[in-house]
Amino acid sequence: MEKQKAHIDKNNTVIKIRGVEKSFADYDVLRGIDLDLYQGENLVVLGRSGTGKSVLIKLISGLLSTDAGTIEVLGNDVTTISQRALEDLRIRIGFSFQNSALYDSMTVRKNLEFPLVRNRKGITRAEINKDVESVLDAVGLSQTINQMPAELSGGQRKRIGIARTLILNPEIMLYDEPTAGLDPITCIEINELINEVQQRYHTSSIIITHDLTCAKMTGDRIAMLLDGQFQRVGTFDEVFATTDERVKPFFDYNFIQ
């Protein structure tokens, strides 16, 4: 399915990253990175395993703290923000985890209700049911509402994970390896879902992946993370129109061509 043209507002930067550094013990993962995410855009962050892609979105959501630099999300600097303000900001950011991170002890319905009832004070049972059914419909899994996460397939778990983030109507979506561990057909379905979310919910997204099919299908712009820095940023064709020996193998070893 061809990606529909997104309405990207380049005058409105929803995430602005400047000079961010992050180390673990003696290993410098991120070495002063700069990046902008524009309103309405799907930005794919590509890179090999262990290059700090997931660390980047954990820094954006405040799950990890930076060693240096600033990260401005919807006008708030998450490196200096108070805990209370961070909690409020997180409601506006959806985070889809690599392993879906569904709550094992709750049914799909309870998984979806959990963030909703805790963030929307005074919400009625009818409104909860409507929102739950609406997001389940959006991810095409209405029939799983009473199932436990253990009863779902990998692809279904990913979809429910995305639905759980959508239920709060986030302005920004962060996808951590959305197609990891899935078969090629399910991968394409998830990529289409990411594009549908962009169109239907008008979200701006950062998609962390090493899957070029995912990058090409979902990304309006690609940022290649190499050696702790963004080496190439542009459209898919721009990024791979290079003789850089660090970038070329990425393309050559995929079957996308």
């Binding site: 954990k58 909690e87 409601i91 985070f95 991170a101 709550y103 094992d104 959990f114 759980r164 983030t165």
Partner: protein, 269 residues
């Protein structure tokens, strides 16, 4: 060259290792202290997760009921049976109900309950939260603007602090019942006589100290299990370590607290 250095200079490396271990120990103590302080800071603030507290009370209390009943009964019967020969030597078997009740009420009931709960409830909390940590479920709660500490930790600690004293009281009753059945079978003592003799030597301070112990044990088992699970790392290996750490640390602390509370209760007598 390396081996020469190792053999000629072993002391600094040993000192360094000891220093590192000490530093790690004090760092852990500081983290536990910070965790306990965070509990007291968050437990009184809204939102209040009443439903989850009730669910956790069911998980920690009701689900331990069979094991606790069986253990309490056996403790009562065995303790009475083992104490009889010593009293028979002095012709003092009539003191058996008093001896059994003092031992059960003052020491055995809270201690046995706490040790069983540390093994069953503490390990279960450690493993459950540890598994939630390594599968990023706790992170998922955090990024969705909910308060995982409140939902996962506060509720479990409140539940163990409520249910373990209740279970300890129940164990005391069941163990006394076991003692009575043994005494009744051997000495033919009636129920009312047994109970009169059993409660005669006990004072209000004994009940208070026993209840206080059970409350402190319940809090300790909950907080240690949650601490180990909530701060679990290193994947599935970490989950096992969290469960194991929850049991070992809780049991160790329970014995220390037992000594301290007995000492404090002694000052009030």
């Amino acid at each position: 060259m390396d081996s020469v250095n190792n053999t000629t200079n072993p002391a600094p490396s040993r000192i360094k290792k000891t220093q590192n271990k000490l530093a790690a120990f004090f760092l852990m103590l500081h983290r536990i202290y910070a965790f306990v302080m965070r509990f007291f800071k968050e437990v009184f603030l809204p939102p209040y997760e009443f439903k989850e507290v009730i669910r956790q009370c069911y998980e920690t209390g009701v689900r331990s009921f069979t094991l606790i009943t069986l253990t309490g009964f056996i403790v009562g019967v065995i303790f009475t049976k083992q104490s009889r020969p010593s009293l028979t030597d002095f012709g003092a078997t009539s003191w058996l109900p008093s001896l059994v009740s003092i031992a059960i009420m003052k020491a055995l009931a809270p201690l046995v309950t706490a040790l069983i709960a540390a093994g069953k409830v503490g390990s279960s909390i450690g493993a459950e939260l540890g598994s939630m940590r390594v599968t990023e479920q706790i992170d998922a709660m955090e990024v969705s603007g909910t308060k995982p500490f409140k939902f996962l930790v506060c509720t479990r600690v409140i539940a163990t602090t409520i249910t373990i004293p209740l279970l300890a009281t129940y164990v005391a009753f069941i163990a006394l019942l076991g003692g009575y059945l043994n005494v009744s079978q051997n000495e033919g003592t009636t129920y009312s006589v047994f109970m009169d003799q059993a409660f005669e030597p006990l004072t209000f301070i004994d009940f208070w100290a026993s209840l206080s112990k059970a409350i402190v044990f319940g809090f300790t088992i909950g907080i240690v299990g949650c601490y180990q699970g909530y701060n679990s790392t290193k994947g599935t290996e970490g989950v096992g370590k969290a469960a194991n750490g929850a049991v070992v640390t809780a049991m160790f602390l329970v014995f220390i607290e037992e000594v301290l509370i007995v000492q404090i209760a002694g000052w009030f007598r």
